[in-house]
């Protein structure tokens, strides 16, 4: 049974290019240009999936993304769950299977590439059917920048599934000439296989382009599989067509039941006959084309059931001519069959809205048409208002968008002439006179259609059998009535109660029908009830596509310091500090982290060590108001700092809580340079700018980030003076001449540097600052000058141990947003003289003066080998009491001290400073470990080492 339901000629598939694929383990063949759905139907395979709740067999219900039931899983080449067979373009080697409503994710990383492109245009046209092509062509001829996106493999839209004629030629010839002309305009971007899935404010739209799947093994493995186009348009033309709507009746979900126009599309676009013996059930004229075309192609049309009492002579003649039995005033009341529809029950509609006795006819295909819903999804996402049109039983755009318009079938204008005219005039409206001049009139013979009937559900549906409203969610008319019976009135509530419209098809066939059924049940108008909100994405979009290239090494920027490559070659381990990659420690061959850190600490305490501290934020502050600004920003006085000197400072928020700390050096009367913590570089600059611009515009000050201009290298340890002396022979490095918290300009390796006597370790230390260009030259010079003294590079871990041994808090580690300078034991850094500064008023709040506030203290484990866990809770008792346990605070920093040969920690503890010497407990694995509360300084309490 190979392609036995394929017509001998016709269709848009390439019969020269057969493709092999597997479905549910069976090999099949199709042609290039097929979808998985059309290829399966060509092989007579209708029963392809099963339903999520009831396990009922399900088939292809529609030829496009509105299909609620043909849900499949791609197994090979790469697993991808929950796709619609009707939207998967066939390629050689595809292995897929039908799903029972749920699929499975790959257990390995996706090897494909995904990316994004930003694009701007005057005119974005969504949909390359007659309306869209007409709009795009008019825009292109007017010289506009145009983007035309369409979800199918080729342009044409509804024309691909029909036999229309434009200007006396087959419509597809017109399509070909239009696309050829569009290709010649350099500023027209025409994308097929690209679905616009979201419309947002200000003409912003997203489209997903499928680029390589259809090429199968011939695709360039480097090429992008899917691309998200981020399009910003001056004007949006929504030419998305319409979706045919089903009518609900008993057992309306069997494989072989299909929307009428979809069967026509399978015939004309793919050369596929969806069955051999068909019944048409319709409420409108449009579906007759499907029945007639299928009949002409050799399908036996057993009967047409038209719910309307009367049908035009043209259609009656068409039936007679083809020997089709036409039953007006009839409906389909049910079906039967095993894995596929085998028979259809046709019954008369009686006057009192009931159905009469059914006549059963044998058929393997049931075509259904309940009318058309304009595809208003994007229009509605773009905040366009909808109105209910009684005549067609559908919601249509009620207005133009501020910068856009729905056209053609998407606007409820179903004729071909309307579509062509609509598209051109939308482009003209957007672009003005030049485009108006470019509008072309076309000769089209649209048939005059008789009014449609609006029928949501065949009377009596669901009373005896199951009548499905949402095939994907297995939700029935009874579910809707139960929701209404439970008191729900809003369509949004009924949607959530029944899950109708929440499948991957997002209710494209069920949404309006649901509103209709609710309206009937409540006896209100559909217009009054409305329809559920349309939200992006219009069709499913894989997270991989949205993530694009923001994965792996490009997930987030990795910021590097000037010595990064040097550290890399030295075998450093790195840690992430915000976006920065910082050297964490420098293990020697076979050395553990603890070993390396202990060695690095020893070098800093006993000899000399150096690190790259370039990540510190640095802000240049200049202007007559510079000193005043810093006085207002820091808690301590900065304006009194003398040129040539440095001062530590703390910044608080308006709430009095510490937000950052750092040092300030004064370069000249009106010129300061301050440092911030690594993580707060940007936010401190922003905060200062905000105060400056919004509260203190009278201060003339300029703030400039120089974080990356300056590389910063602390040289630390008792022998650091000798290293600096060797580097800068001209500089008097004696403590008297170059004292603590002063700075000097100097030259190292022929490069200007600024050296600051500053210490974050308690040791004698110098901080060498140099322009980033020369950073490596100076770094190497330091290494070279330090070699006789065994200078040791150290990383952030050692930096933390050294500072913690001295009780120097790290803002953001030992503090959170609830710590005042006083809580940190740093009342000395809060000026009593200054009239005001940010945070000052908050220090007098009662809450900030409570004696039981959490205060920073040291904790010494009574067993000096126990390393407390950071974040560990501090409690009062040796036995763990019944919960809730009163927590006194928590451990903020915890290390081994190589210098003291013990472990130690910093912690915030309620009323901690009054507890010095007390024994408290930190539970570890459920057992409270005794610790002694100490002051924060573990090492060199008298500060004797600072000056060497």
């Amino acid at each position: 049974m190979t392609n036995s339901f394929r017509t001998s000629t016709g269709g848009r598939v390439n019969r020269e290019l057969p493709l092999s694929f597997q479905f549910d383990g069976t090999p099949y063949s199709g042609y290039a240009g097929d979808t998985l759905a059309s290829a399966l139907l060509a092989n007579g395979k209708h029963d392809i999936a099963s339903s999520i709740k009831f396990g009922r067999p399900r088939g292809v219900f529609a030829a496009g993304p509105e299909d609620p039931s043909g849900v499949i899983q791609i197994e090979e080449p790469f697993p991808e769950p929950m796709l619609m067979a009707s939207t998967v373009e066939l390629y050689d080697g595809l292995v897929a299977s039908g799903l029972p409503g749920q699929g499975w994710l790959a257990d390995r990383p996706d090897p494909a590439r995904y990316d994004a492109v930003h694009h701007h245009c005057d005119l974005l046209v969504v949909g390359a059917g007659p309306a869209g092509l007409s709009a795009a062509l008019t825009g292109a001829r007017a010289g506009a920048r145009v983007v035309l996106v369409d979800s199918l493999s080729e342009a044409g839209g509804s024309l691909l599934g029909s036999t229309e004629v434009i200007d006396g030629r087959p419509a597809l010839e017109w399509v070909e000439s239009v696309t050829a002309e569009l290709d010649e305009h350099p500023d027209v971007l025409h994308l097929q296989r690209a679905t616009a899935f979201g419309c947002y404010d200000d003409g912003f739209a997203l489209a997903l382009e499928n680029r390589t799947d259809h090429l199968g093994g011939a695709a360039d493995p480097d090429d992008t599989r899917q691309r998200v186009w981020r399009i910003r348009a001056q004007y949006l033309v929504i030419a998305t067509g319409a979706h045919e709507r089903p009518v609900v009746f008993n057992d309306n979900d069997r494989p072989g039941i299909m929307l009428a126009a979809s069967a026509r599309t399978f015939l004309h676009r793919f050369g596929v006959l969806a069955g051999g013996r068909a019944v048409l059930f319709t409420t409108n004229d449009s579906a007759y084309a499907a029945a007639f075309d299928l009949s002409d192609a050799g399908v036996t049309i057993v009967a047409v059931a038209d719910s309307r009492a009367q049908v035009s002579e043209r259609l009656q003649d068409g039936c007679v001519r083809r020997g089709i039995a036409l039953h007006t005033g009839h409906v389909v009341s049910g079906t039967d069959g095993d894995r596929r529809v085998e028979s259809v029950d046709i019954a008369a509609l009686t006057g009192d809205n009931e159905v009469g006795q059914a006549e059963r006819v044998a058929a393997d295909l049931l075509l259904v048409s309940g009318g058309w819903n304009p595809a208003v999804h994007l229009f509605s996402q773009a905040r366009g208002r909808l109105r209910y049109d009684d005549g067609i039983g559908a919601f249509v755009p009620a207005e133009d968008l501020e910068q856009g318009r729905a056209v053609g079938a998407a606007a409820g204008h179903f004729g071909l002439a309307d579509a062509l005219r609509d598209g051109a005039s939308a482009a003209a409206a957007a672009l003005g006179p030049t485009a108006t001049a470019a509008v072309t009139e076309h000769q089209v013979d649209d048939l005059v259609e008789a009014p449609s009937a609006v029928l949501w559900s065949v009377p009596g549906s669901g009373e005896t059998g199951m009548a499905f409203v949402d095939l994907q969610r297995d939700a029935t008319t009874q579910d809707v009535l139960r929701a209404v019976g439970a008191g729900l009135r809003s369509v949004e509530h009924v949607k959530r109660y029944t899950t109708i419209g929440t499948g991957l098809d997002q209710g494209k066939t069920s949404g309006v029908v649901t509103s209709g059924i609710i309206a009937d049940a409540l006896g209100v108008g559909v217009a009054e009830l409305g329809v559920t909100t349309y939200r992006p994405p219009y069709t499913p979009v894989a997270f991989a596509a949205l993530a694009g290239r923001n994965r792996g090494q490009l997930l987030d920027p990795v910021r590097l310091t000037p010595t990064h490559v040097w550290a890399l070659t030295r075998g450093a381990e790195f840690e992430n500090v915000g976006q920065w990659k910082r050297a964490w420690y420098f293990p020697r061959e076979g050395e553990s982290m603890d070993g390396a850190v202990a060695r690095e600490c020893r070098a800093a305490r006993e000899g000399v060590a150096f690190m790259d501290g370039s990540t510190l934020g640095k802000i240049d502050v200049q202007g007559p108001g510079a000193g005043e600004l810093l006085d207002r920003i820091y808690t301590n006085m900065m304006s009194t700092l003398k040129v040539g000197r440095a001062r530590y400072g703390v910044m608080c928020g308006a709430d009095g809580m510490v937000v950052d700390d750092g040092t300030v050096i004064r370069l000249a009367d009106e010129h300061f340079l301050l440092t911030t913590t690594t993580g707060n570089a940007a936010s401190v600059l922003e905060t200062m700018e905000e105060w400056l611009q919004t509260e203190w515009p009278e201060l003339r000050v300029h703030l400039t980030s120089v974080t990356e201009h300056w590389a910063t290298f602390p040289v630390v340890g008792p022998k650091s003076r000798e290293v600096i002396a060797a580097l800068v022979p001209d500089l008097d490095v004696s403590n008297d001449a170059f004292g603590f918290m002063t700075w000097r300009d100097a030259e190292i390796a022929g490069v200007p540097v600024r050296i600051v006597r500053i210490s974050f370790s308690g040791e004698l230390a110098y901080e060498v600052n140099v322009s980033a260009w020369h950073a490596m030259a100076v770094w190497r010079a330091i290494a070279e000058a330090g070699r006789p003294h065994g200078i040791t590079p150290y990383g952030t871990e050692t930096m933390h141990v050294l500072r913690a041994e001295k009780g120097f808090p790290i803002i953001g580690q030992d503090t959170d947003a609830t710590m005042t300078p006083q809580d940190l034991g740093m009342s000395w850094v809060v000026s009593k003289k200054k009239e005001d500064f940010v945070g000052k008023r908050s220090f007098t709040r009662l809450e900030n003066q409570r004696e039981d506030r959490k205060q920073l203290v040291g904790l010494l484990p009574q067993d000096p080998s126990v390393l407390l866990p950071e974040g560990g809770q501090v409690i009062e008792t040796a036995d763990l009491p019944e919960a809730p346990v009163r927590m006194l605070g928590h451990v903020t920093s915890s290390y081994h001290s190589a210098t003291s040969g013990c472990t130690f920690a910093l912690a915030v503890v309620r009323g901690g400073r009054d507890r010095l010497g007390e024994t408290l407990y930190v539970p570890m694995n459920g057992t409270p470990v005794p610790v002694t509360v100490s002051d924060t300084v573990l090492y060199d309490k008298e500060g004797a080492r600072r000056d060497g």
């Binding site: 923001n550 490559v565 201009h709 490069v751 260009w773």
Partner: protein, 201 residues
């Protein structure tokens, strides 16, 4: 060799390790780091009496229009904000800095920020397409002309993009030094799917 020569010889630019990767890109794009441009942050309120002197020192009127620039010989002046310009010059003799400082005197600030950023020249017929992978600004020559300077994001890095011609084929991307490696990686990676694209050759 003088001390200055030694210093110049020892300079390291943020993207020197990317040179080979840049060279291997498809011919449609050319990436080149313009290393060691002297960069000065000029801060001045536009109403300042010093504007005239500054313009004279620069050799060109200080550009006051948002997102604009000015060029005088080898000196490029990029507008970065209402009171902020980036002055770039390949010469490193300090003369521009001295002249500017003298002109600004007391009315603003001149800060050497040469190490703060580096510059990547992105040029070639596909330069605009490459940038479009990560930049939401419309760089089409119809709306974006030579001389425009915009601060925006390219991928996740903050950058200034200076347009140097009217055909959308010549841009300077000025990026913070610490983000340069990320940006280079991103740019090179963005070209991967275009390796076989005939339009990129």
């Amino acid at each position: 060799m003088t001390a200055d020569d030694v210093a110049v010889d020892q300079r390291v630019s943020p993207l020197e390790l990317w040179r080979a990767e840049f060279k291997a890109l498809p011919a449609g794009v050319r990436l080149r780091e313009l290393a060691f441009l002297t960069q000065l942050s000029l801060r001045l309120v536009p109403e300042s009496p010093a504007v005239a002197a500054v313009s004279e020192a620069l050799g060109v009127a200080l550009p006051l229009e948002p997102c604009s620039s000015a060029v005088a010989g080898e000196v490029t002046v990029l507008w970065l904000g209402p009171d902020e310009w980036l002055v770039m010059t390949p010469t490193g003799d300090g003369e521009t800095e001295r002249n500017l400082r003298a002109a600004v005197q007391g009315h603003g600030a001149v800060i050497d920020v040469s190490g703060q950023r580096t510059t990547v020249s992105v040029s070639g017929p596909r330069a605009r397409d490459l940038l479009a992978h990560g930049c939401s600004i419309d760089l089409h020559p119809r709306v974006n002309h030579a001389g425009s300077c915009v601060q925006t994001h390219l991928a996740k890095a903050g950058v200034a993009i200076w347009t140097r011609d009217d055909s959308g084929t010549d841009f300077w991307v000025v990026v913070r030094t610490s983000f340069a490696d990320y940006l280079a990686r991103w740019l090179v990676d963005a070209c991967v799917p275009h390796r076989q694209d005939p339009q990129w050759q």
